[in-house]
């Protein structure tokens, strides 16, 4: 039985390494002369081999070992990098990912047919002369400065894992030149209780001894200093050491659920702070001159500021760099481009931009969809590009940035662009628009038809217009997240999609309205405008009340009747125009209570059937206000 802490550590690390390998392999394919990159890829393959073996995941270790062999031959310059070699390495990586996935789900490997993967890898590593160095640690030019003798306690349960962790810790301090027994034997538990590591390190013996000695399973550690390295080597190693220090982040892993819980607690704190501010405000009005009340006012204000700051910080803790999401694309683009026989260059910009991890998960599919469309339909074939005097290599740029409280992701290609005429014709033929309306439409309005369900499922127009199917789903998904998407495009120059997303899903800006004496919150992201109701404006179309807003017919609905509230004699005076995908509705409400940031709390399974509700929030006075889900509400209206 594998110790769970070790297993979790292993999986976290494996995930990190597999993601990094995916990125680095693709980028190495483009820059085959980048030896630093090759070294990093090699180190990662080596690390995952070692840790998988130490955990007893033999199939995983064996695939990683084969990959390592290929990389060794590559490092030795015995074979040349070629596409088939990268395909073999990537298929090895896929196998690692699959096994990691199974281990994550079941705690153990299942049985895999790895013959093909291994065969394609060994095909490249035949040139490998099996030397101790090749299958053990990376051959190193570094001279030995320290000899570290480590003895583990006799009671140590998983010696292999322990040795692996200690070696890893030593690697953070320098370069391991030799191990006795060999590293593979150590991680596979083929040793008694002691082993010797000879290494090159800039640190003094004391810090090496401390790094190893702090481990509870280490009985004894003895570090002997040897000769100092020569000048040239030293500067080289110093450079490496500082690079290592720069990239090493000071961080701890935190369970997402813990963060989630912290976030909830802070949400409650915000609510209580608002209540306190209310009470103190009332107190102050009642007894203005009371010194204690004045003090309380100060304390409450200070508490408010601290709470806001705390909330900000915890929100930041939930943020992850978009690099985690972008890292899947080099591989995806490579495979797609090969598949379509197109040459595509992908550029990733702003990868350090951070956003809420829940959003990262939700935005993955829409993004993949758009990028795939860009390569499938947007970019022309090599021949066509040459004919158009374009570079034979198509470009796709994924860029992320922050803009106020939004994250903006742009997907840009230099392909054929969207044919406005073709989109317009198709929209006409589907009856989405009249000829007269179409004439008055701006380019933006015409492009927006791409997101209309009927149009985006029409294949013939997709190929003509340079867009693929299913864009309506993309838009729906993004709107579910409180985001939006826009298109700009120029024929034969290219297309850009710009996605705007909120930084977090836990807090949204909402418009509070009241109907029949009850308050409701509407997400601002779904509100296009508010205005007073002018009864003269109301038209009747197909027995339903409607408004004509900027030449668009918008159904007029009372929010009270939509929600089946018991109606009293209230007269709705205000209109809130809400939208979801391409439908708009003007909701009649009694009063607009203003805009504010609200913390979304789930309503729970009792109200799972109420799809017109997104949740609820608690206001400063402690009262609960349901938050409406505009998409669900419009769905409800369609049924009525």
């Amino acid at each position: 039985m594998v110790n769970n802490d070790y297993l979790r550590l292993f999986l976290d690390e494996a995930e990190e390494i597999v993601d990094r390998l995916a990125l680095n392999l693709v980028s190495f394919e483009k820059h085959p002369s980048d030896t630093d990159l090759l070294n990093e890829v090699f180190r990662d393959a080596h690390t995952i081999k070692g840790s998988a073996a130490a955990m007893g995941f033999t199939q995983m270790a064996s695939v990683a070992h084969q990959m390592e062999n290929v990389l060794t031959v590559l490092r030795q310059g015995q074979i040349m990098p070629e596409p088939a070699l990268f395909s073999a390495l990537l298929s090895g990586l896929d196998a690692l990912r699959q096994i990691k996935h199974d281990v994550y789900a079941a705690g153990k490997e299942s049985t895999y047919d790895l013959a093909a993967v291994v065969a394609s890898l060994t095909g490249f590593s035949q040139a490998l002369v099996e030397t101790a160095a090749a299958c053990d640690i990376a051959p190193s030019a570094a001279s030995v400065t320290h000899r570290v003798e480590i003895t583990l306690r006799t009671a140590t349960v998983m010696k292999g894992v322990r040795a692996f962790i200690l070696l890893k810790r030593l690697r953070e301090l320098g370069e391991i030149v030799r191990c006795e027994p060999k590293e593979q034997d150590l991680t596979e538990e083929r040793f008694e209780h002691s082993f010797v590591v000879e290494m090159h390190a800039e640190q003094n013996a004391g810090s090496l001894s401390e790094a190893v000695g702090q481990d509870g399973d280490v009985e004894d550690v003895r570090v002997t200093g040897l000769a100092a390295p020569t000048g040239k080597l030293r500067t080289n190693l110093e450079k490496q050491a500082t690079e290592r220090a720069d990239t090493k982040q000071h961080s701890v892993r935190v369970d997402v659920n813990k963060l989630e819980k912290l976030m909830n607690l802070v949400g409650e704190l915000v609510i209580e702070r608002n209540r306190l501010a209310n009470v103190v405000g009332n107190l102050e009005r009642a007894s203005k001159d009371n010194q204690q009340v004045q003090t309380l006012l100060g304390v409450s204000g200070q508490l408010g500021r601290i709470t806001s700051e705390l909330q900000q910080e915890i929100m930041k803790a939930r943020m992850i760099p978009i690099a985690q999401l972008f890292s899947t694309f080099p591989r995806l683009v490579r495979d797609l481009a090969q598949n379509r026989s197109k040459q595509v260059e992908l550029e990733l910009l702003g990868t350090e931009t951070e956003l809420d991890r829940t959003i990262v998960e939700e935005v993955r599919d829409p993004l993949i969809h758009i990028v795939r469309n860009a390569i499938d339909h947007g970019l022309e074939s090599k021949e066509e590009r040459l004919r158009l005097n374009k570079s034979p290599v198509g470009r796709v740029v994924l860029a992320a940035s922050h803009e106020e409280t939004n994250v903006v992701i742009s997907i840009k290609d230099d392909g054929r662009g969207i044919d406005r005429e073709a989109v317009g014709r198709k929209a006409l033929s589907l009856g989405l628009v009249t000829e007269e309306e179409l004439r008055g439409y701006t380019e933006q309005q015409v492009f927006a038809f791409i997101f209309a369900p009927g149009l985006s499922t029409a294949r013939e127009v997709s190929d003509v217009s340079g867009r693929g199917v299913g864009m309506d789903i993309v838009r729906t998904q993004l709107e579910k997240l409180g985001g939006s998407i826009e298109i700009t495009s120029e024929l034969n120059v290219g297309t850009e999609f710009v996605i705007r997303l909120p930084l977090t899903l836990a807090i949204i800006r909402a418009l509070l309205v009241s109907v029949e004496g009850r308050s409701f919150a509407l997400p601002i992201a779904a509100v296009s405008e508010t205005r007073k109701l002018n009864p003269q404006e109301v038209r009747v179309v197909q027995q339903r009340d409607c408004l004509v807003i900027r030449e668009q017919i918008v159904p007029l609905v009372s929010l009270a009747s939509a929600l089946a509230l018991p109606s009293a004699a209230s007269t709705p005076e205000h209109l809130v125009i809400v939208f979801s995908a391409s439908s708009k509705v003007a909701l009649m409400v009694d009063r607009l209570l203003g805009e504010q940031e609200v913390v979304i709390k789930p309503l729970g399974p009792f109200f799972a059937a109420n799809r017109e509700l997104a949740g609820a929030t608690v206001l400063g006075d402690g009262s609960v206000v349901p938050i409406l889900d505009v998409k669900g509400l419009l769905g409800l209206l369609r049924q009525q």
């Binding site: 909830n264 949400g267 409650e268 609510i271 209580e272 009850r518 929600l563 089946a564 509230l565 709390k601 789930p602 309503l603 729970g604 399974p605 009792f606 109200f607 799972a608 059937a609 109420n610 017109e612 509700l613 609820a616 608690v618 402690g622 009262s623 609960v624 206000v625 349901p626």
Partner: protein, 148 residues
């Protein structure tokens, strides 16, 4: 069947009911309840319990008793178990008792008694033992979605 029971005993109209204390998190006074549109009529709305939002059910309505009148003694019994988190509005909570050697007889086979797991004598009155999960498990519109 003789059992040792720890019960929250409360009244609804003229009748006494008991719920296992293991399922009860706390008992609060009647508080402002926010009605939620389009839900079963016995669901009164939601309650803000220190920041957590909890559905609240009126047991008078659930048991089809005459409409309740709120008094100083009206309480909300907060049920918090793995399967169910809900507030139940009752007329009064009379006691929380540890009853050793309680004699529980199976519930009479009445249709309306399907929420009741058994009946026992205590302090000269009959107490119906309520299983809160059963209150909702037969609700088609809430359905199994409540569970889990």
């Amino acid at each position: 069947m003789v059992n040792r029971l720890q019960l929250v005993i409360f009244s609804l109209g003229d009748e006494q009911y008991g719920i296992d204390t293991a399922q009860v998190k706390e008992i609060t006074r009647m508080e402002a309840i926010t009605p939620i549109p389009r839900c079963p009529q016995f669901v009164e709305g939601v309650l803000n319990l220190r920041g957590q939002i909890l559905p609240v059910v009126c047991l008078h309505k659930r048991f089809a008793l005459p409409a309740r009148t709120d008094t100083q003694r009206t309480r909300i019994v907060i049920v918090d178990s793995l399967e169910l988190k809900v507030g139940l509005i009752v007329d009064a909570v009379s006691e929380v008792s540890d009853i050793a050697g309680a004699l529980v007889t199976p519930a009479p086979a009445l249709a309306s008694a399907s929420f009741v797991t058994g009946v026992m004598h205590h302090g000269g009155t009959l107490i119906s033992l309520l299983d809160p999960v059963r209150l909702f498990s037969a609700e088609p519109q809430l359905g199994v979605s409540i569970l889990g």
